[in-house]
């Protein structure tokens, strides 16, 4: 026995039914797979919603109006808390 014994191996032919099985597997994988365009569209819409939310939060940064500033200067309580 030596390494050159490997040359004695005969080449084998693929069984004829194999391609049908491969086609079946491809079909199964196709059903489970979403189209790339759809995946991108969903991803982009999520990013868009996130960006809009962050934008809204930043743009509506709370600035006290003149009445609130007046109340604060007199150290008045301007919320509805009755007991402190």
């Amino acid at each position: 026995m030596n390494i050159d014994d490997l040359h004695k191996l005969k080449r084998v032919e693929t069984p004829p039914f194999l391609f049908t099985r491969i086609q079946q597997k491809i079909e199964e994988s196709r059903v489970g797979m979403m189209p790339k365009k759809f995946v991108w569209a969903v991803g982009l819409s999520f990013v868009l919603v996130l960006v809009l939310n962050v934008g809204m939060i930043l743009s509506t940064n709370h600035q006290p109006n003149s009445l609130e500033q007046f109340a604060q200067s007199l150290d008045l309580v301007n919320d509805n808390t009755l007991y402190k």
Partner: protein, 176 residues
């Protein structure tokens, strides 16, 4: 090229390489199926930087190694579950019998032992040996398939041969 054309051109190569890795008809058929499903799924991303045959060889090697690793994981899991069950190891562990259809009856004993030794080699040495010695690919082609230099392939083949020769001599010593 359609998947059917690719299959017709490369089916025997894929099936035979898979057989050299697993030496089991059913396992080789499963690997062949996985390879062509992967080829179908990634055919759009194949840019033709390498030859189609090189690309398919590469997928086959990766799928075969993945298959062996998955099988070993299953075996380890079976071993662990056996520890917690009241069953002996003999009932849980069934070493795979070599049923490589390319082995002729008169060579069966020698080649079964030889494949047993090849299976113990590290993955890269095994791949280099299978592609060069059995598939008759040149060292340059093996280098391209494995994504390494020709010198590295040369070294892998040399180490694989040395390891195999050692193992063969050990077998001879224990037999006689």
């Amino acid at each position: 090229l359609t998947i059917e054309e690719l299959y017709q051109q490369h089916k025997d190569t894929v099936y035979n390489v898979a057989l050299h890795y697993v030496q089991q008809v059913e396992d080789a058929q499963e690997i062949t199926q996985d390879v062509f499903v992967a080829v179908y799924q990634s055919i759009d991303s194949f840019r033709g930087a390498a030859a189609v045959s090189t690309w398919i060889y590469r997928i086959t090697v990766n799928k075969s190694l993945d298959f062996i690793k998955a099988k070993q994981r299953k075996k380890r899991f079976a071993f662990l579950t056996a520890l917690f069950k009241d069953e002996s190891m003999e009932t849980m562990y069934h070493p795979p019998e070599n049923n490589h259809p390319g082995i002729q009856l008169e060579d069966k004993e020698a080649l079964t032992i030889l494949f047993g030794h090849i299976n113990q080699l590290p993955d890269n040495q095994k791949t280099a040996l299978i592609l060069h010695k059995i598939e008759q690919q040149s060292q340059a082609e093996v280098a391209e398939i494995m994504g390494i230099s020709v010198k590295a392939v040369e070294s892998l083949i040399q180490r694989a041969k040395t390891n195999l020769t050692k193992k063969i001599n050990q077998t001879k010593d224990t037999t006689f």
